[in-house]
Each structure stands twice: as structure tokens, then as C-alpha cells.
Symmetry: C2
Subunit: 143 residues, 2 copies
DNA sequence: TTGCATGCAAAAATTTTGCAGAAGT
DNA sequence: ACTTCTGCAAAATTTTTGCATGCAA
């Protein structure tokens, strides 16, 4: 999986005439071996531990590249922190976000997606992508 | 509808021992007679036209009060602009967001909500609220 | 060599906060 | 009188940009 995404990114870089650099490799590695919903700051801090001279701007620019290449996606949970999540080809998932401990659970539901398509069709709307987030308390935080 | 919300807000203000002021009335009026998904800046600019001396901070603080009182809700469409939408008691709706022209269409779908409850139950998760947004092109922008 | 990438700092953009004076209750 | 509000400016956050230098192709 990790190798696959590294390849996708390298191919994207090459195709666009961009360059493969040490920083991009480091950031990609840190991203791929992290929590699937990392905020930019979390990733930056994690990087700083081993690579104190990597700039914040480079992290921002590189994450945008990841999104462009298709291996990551920008997400906003409304807490003022932009996050990036891992994207696997052809896969989509939605989120259960625990407002107690911040845990994020992913799920997929074919029936919901189908109903979404129906709603869109009723409005003659062409869906490109969607976002479904359920906020509340996870099992642990309920007790 | 407008009267109802004004009353809800006034009651909230009174209950909290807060004060009814000219600015709050003006902002509430502008909010209630606006598009249902107004960004803070849009509302601020609209206000400035007639009331040039209202401060940005007051708009921010007042919109937060609207949300606390239950007549408004903060929403983020991921474009870096915080918006507030109108909330009617017991009513919930989701959004079709046109990435072409920015139009926002509201919809409700009981079946989707039911499936969401099932997903939550399967994870022993207690839903407080949710967000469902379908992004794509509206009928007009498709042609 | 050529031109993209990096790191730093400065700039933008958005939201929050402190404070003195103004205004509701 | 008392306390909350307001407007302004300053501060805090988050993200973007400019630029000289570094580095990959």
C-alpha cells in the first residue's frame, strides 16, 4: 500500500515535470506512516522531531501536491484545523467524529451512497464528491 | 418565521441576562432577510452599506450568539469562509453545493437519516448532529 | 545550466481579545 | 449604579507568498 502510493506520487511528479527531493520523500514517508487524519500541524511537529530544519511552508506545499496527485485529500472537521487523509484508489469512506476524544472512525455504506445519487438525480445535479460526517460520542466516551 | 426567530433570540438574550441592543437588532434583521448560507464577510459587507460604523468583531460576536440561541448554525464548506445558516426548530437539512456557481440547494431525506442511525448503532456511537454535503454541478452549470 | 524547490521571513487572511467609552437594565 | 456592549486596534491563528540560495534533471 505504502509502496503503491509512493509510486503514484513519483509518477505524478515526473509527469508534471516536477522534482523528486529529499524533503518530499521525508514528508511522504511521515504522512504514509501516520494516523489517517492528520492535521498539518501534527504532521509538521512530527517531522520537526527528526528534521528540525524543514519549513512549515514546505509541508503545506507538499501536502497540496499529495492531494493533486490523488494520494491525499483535504478535510475540514470545523475545528479550525485543516487535515489531510489518505486516499486509496476507488475507495471512499465517511466519518464518525467523536466530539469527546477526537477519535475518527471510518465507515462505508453503499445504501446511503445510492440514496445520495437519487437525491442528486431529483435535482438534476451531478455529484463529483461528497462529505458525510456524523458527530457525537464514541462508545468509550458514552460511559 | 422571521418574527418567531426574533422572539427566540430575544428570549435567549433575556434568559442569559444579556442586553438587547441596536446593533444586535440590526444584525439579526440583516441575517434573517438574507441568503440562508451567508459568509461572515458577506453579512458584514451588507451591513456596512447601511451602517458603516458597525465593527467586524461585533458581527462575529453576534453571530456566535445567534448560534447559541439556536437560530443559526455555523457551517464550513471548506473554502476558508465560515458561514452561518438559518435553523428552524426541529428541522434539519443537508446540502447540494454547486462547485460551478456556488449555489447551495437544501434537501432532506428521511431514509438517509435512518441509515445513519444504523451505522452509528453498529459502532455504539451516539450521534449529536451530522453533516452531509454533496458537491458537484447543478442543473444550470451542467449545460 | 536551467528552472523547480527550499527555508526563512514577511504578508495575507481570518478570528479572537483587550480596553476605554457608550449604552442597556 | 452596574454590567454588558461596542468599536477600534492589537494580537493570535492559519495559510500563502516573495526571494535568495540550493539542488535535481
Amino acid at each position: 500500500m505504502k509502496r503503491v502510493k509512493q509510486k503514484i506520487f513519483q509518477d505524478y511528479i515526473a509527469r508534471q515535470g516536477l522534482k523528486s527531493t529529499r524533503q518530499r520523500d521525508i514528508i511522504l514517508d511521515a504522512f504514509l506512516s501516520s494516523d489517517r487524519h492528520l492535521s498539518i500541524e501534527e504532521l509538521y511537529l512530527k517531522l520537526r522531531a527528526k528534521h528540525p530544519n524543514i519549513g512549515y511552508a514546505t509541508v503545506y506545499r507538499t501536502l497540496k501536491l499529495f492531494a493533486e496527485s490523488g494520494i491525499a485529500r483535504e478535510i475540514h472537521f470545523g475545528d479550525g484545523q485543516t487535515r489531510y487523509e489518505h486516499v486509496s484508489e476507488g475507495e471512499h469512506h465517511d466519518h464518525l467524529v467523536c466530539t469527546g476524544c477526537g477519535t475518527i472512525i471510518e465507515f462505508e455504506n453503499e445504501s446511503i451512497e445510492k440514496l445520495q445519487d437519487e437525491v442528486a438525480a431529483a435535482h438534476n445535479f451531478l455529484i463529483k464528491h461528497h462529505k458525510l460526517e456524523l458527530y457525537g460520542l464514541c462508545a468509550k466516551c458514552r460511559s
